[in-house]
């Protein structure tokens, strides 16, 4: 028994957040909501539904 930590959502979330900051976004709440939403969408659609080995 053990847990498997998925690296992709963490890495994608960090990349997304840093990109938003670099593109000039400064409001924290919308940054977090948007980052989490896009990362979750990408992971669910591409990783889980389309089974792309992310």
């Amino acid at each position: 028994m053990g847990y498997r930590i998925e690296i992709f959502p963490i890495a994608a979330g960090l990349l997304m957040a840093s990109l938003m900051l670099v593109y000039g976004h400064r409001r924290w709440l919308s940054l977090i909501i948007y980052t989490v939403a896009v990362t979750a969408f990408v992971y669910v659609v591409f990783g889980m539904l389309l089974r792309i080995p992310l």
Binding site: L15, M20, H25, V42, I52
Partner: protein, 549 residues
């Protein structure tokens, strides 16, 4: 079952309709956001559609192609910034119309004539594609195919840059990239440096997404261009009167003809057709003085011409295997991955697919027209979406899309490298179009050249190289030489843009004059025209000084 019924039957699938729905929404959004081109969207879609059936994948990509052609008029008309290069000419009259409170009318007329243009071009495709393909199949051997490829690349070089040397360099860079990988004739590996990833050549989709998509995103990252332009919000009435529709008839007919013709020329796309169509309609108009000042005829002319290129591009792509424009270059790349080779043999091997393609384009046009007329008011709100959401989201999707093409990180690295190359090319004002065309068509040109060279010593020269091949090569030379000579005859400061290389000086003066007049009306002023106002003020000061002297 015959090919016609089979082709239509393939479309009677819920999955196809769903895919077209996705393509429609994506295409409209891509068109509406300035900076994201249809080429970039189709390249990105190519990554995700690879696992689908060919017809399903084509449904997404062709619908994006068509819908972007409708969506890109919205920012042209409302914020004076073309959504994609194809709608450059729409800004000439569309924005002045919007400033006069006729934005709704301009948007509706634009959508209607765009649909007319695309439908007319589909008729051209249906009529001309089979004869052209049969002609090519009967008369095009290796020398002719080589000449045709060179002609395509030469046209792309001739039209895509104000500096011919930069265009040629870009084309040569593309051809060089095309030599990487295994050489089909001898199975030798060239320029792979022992790397397994390069054995099959440079990944075409990764290069395209890099050059057209990532380059733009990196450029935004470096420059932080903020979109301070507020879209014009008073849209006025939407539906044209019968008289206005009648008024646009002549412009639509003339520019439609121009668009159909330009579309057939390999590599020439909607941007050039729009400008030439606008100019020809102005010449033929009863009121040429109204062009550039918000003429409904001008909007109709530019949009009909740029939309009418779609069928022509499709004809060249499907019948000859030479991309009609940059979107079609991506489409060829995808089709080759599906195991379908566009070209003369497509009509004999897969006639049903050709019928399906026409069906998809037809349906996509009608759906886009419907959506344009119903949802234009909602589209305007899209222009207010903050850029940072857009750019960061697209970058993530580019990475995932490219990774999905091969499930390998090397493809993503290729894409990022070409993103950097794309930014450098952009900064040096070197066009990316010839690079892509060189990469795609280089191996084809090389293969046919090698075959021709092998046959040449065994037969007399003129029995191998036909007049068709010679004519195509002469046209290729002319298509580079003529614009170069025309540019050389103009003063250096007038060689500034595509508009100026196509339109005569009198037309450019008229447009500038009209824009300055509009800018002088302080009530209508938005931030977009302030530069023009400054330019106008500078010019006025200069004239004053000259007068004083």
């Amino acid at each position: 079952m015959n090919a016609f019924a089979e082709g239509l039957n393939a479309l009677l699938d819920v999955q196809i309709l769903l895919n077209m729905g996705v393509g429609l929404v994506l295409g409209f959004m891509v068109g509406a956001f300035p900076g994201i081109t249809a080429t970039m969207a189709v390249a990105l879609a190519a990554g995700f559609t690879m696992t689908l059936e060919p017809v399903q994948g084509l449904a997404v990509m062709l619908t994006i192609y068509v819908a972007a052609n409708f969506g890109d008029r919205v920012p042209s008309i409302l914020i004076n910034t073309p959504g994609t290069p194809a709608s450059i000419a729409t800004t000439l009259d569309g924005y002045p119309m919007a400033k006069q409170g006729k934005a709704g009318l301009a948007l509706t007329v634009s959508a209607i004539v765009s649909a007319v243009g695309i439908l007319a071009s589909l008729v051209l495709f249906s009529v001309a594609a089979v004869p052209i393909a049969s002609f090519a199949r009967d008369y095009f051997r290796s020398p002719e195919l080589f000449a045709l490829v060179i002609f395509g690349i030469a046209i792309m070089i001739g039209i895509s840059s104000k500096s011919m040397v930069k265009g040629i360099l870009a084309g040569l860079f593309g051809l060089m990239l095309g030599t990487v990988g295994t050489y089909a004739a001898t199975a030798d590996q060239r320029f792979t440096f022992g790397s397994l990833e390069l054995v099959e050549g440079v990944n075409f989709i990764a290069v395209i997404i890099g050059l057209f998509g990532i380059a733009e995103l990196f450029d935004q990252l470096l420059t932080h261009r903020k979109n301070r332009v507020r879209p014009i919000s008073s849209l006025g009435r939407w539906w044209p009167t019968w008289g206005e529709m009648k008024q646009t008839g002549r412009a639509t007919a003339i520019s439609g003809g121009v668009g159909l013709g330009v579309g057939l020329i390999p590599a020439a796309g909607g941007d050039i057709a729009g400008l030439i169509g606008w100019e020809q309609a102005r010449r033929a108009s009863k009121h040429p003085e109204r062009f550039g000042k918000g003429s409904i005829e001008g909007v109709a002319a530019s949009d009909t011409a740029s939309s009418a290129t779609l069928g022509g591009s499709l004809t060249t792509t499907m019948a000859l295997g030479i991309p009609g424009d940059s979107v079609m270059a991506v489409m060829i790349g995808s089709m080759i991955i599906w195991g379908i080779t566009p070209g003369p043999t497509l009509f004999t091997n897969r006639p049903d697919l050709v019928v399906s393609i026409v069906g998809i384009m037809l349906l996509a046009t009608l759906l886009s027209l419907g959506l344009s007329l119903v949802r234009m008011k909602g589209m305007v709100k899209l222009l207010d979406v903050p850029q940072q959401y857009l750019w960061s989201g697209i970058l993530i999707f580019c990475i995932i899309g490219t990774y999905a093409t091969s499930n390998s990180l090397s493809t993503v690295i290729t894409m990022l490298v070409f993103g950097v190359v794309g930014v450098l090319l952009k900064r040096m004002q070197v066009p990316a179009g010839p690079v892509v065309l060189g990469l795609l068509l280089g191996p084809l040109a090389e293969e046919n050249l090698a075959r021709t060279m092998a046959i040449l010593p065994t037969k007399p020269f003129f029995s191998v190289v036909s007049p068709i091949a010679i004519a195509l090569l002469v046209l290729a030379v002319l298509s580079i030489a003529l614009p170069a000579i025309r540019a050389a005859r103009k003063p250096r400061e007038q060689r500034a843009s595509l508009e100026e290389s196509i339109l005569p000086t009198s037309s450019i003066e008229q447009i500038e004059h009209a824009r300055e007049e509009l800018a002088q009306d302080p009530e209508l002023l938005t931030s977009t025209v302030r530069n023009i106002e400054k330019k106008g003020a500078r010019r006025a000061r200069r004239t004053d000084k000259e007068n004083e002297k």
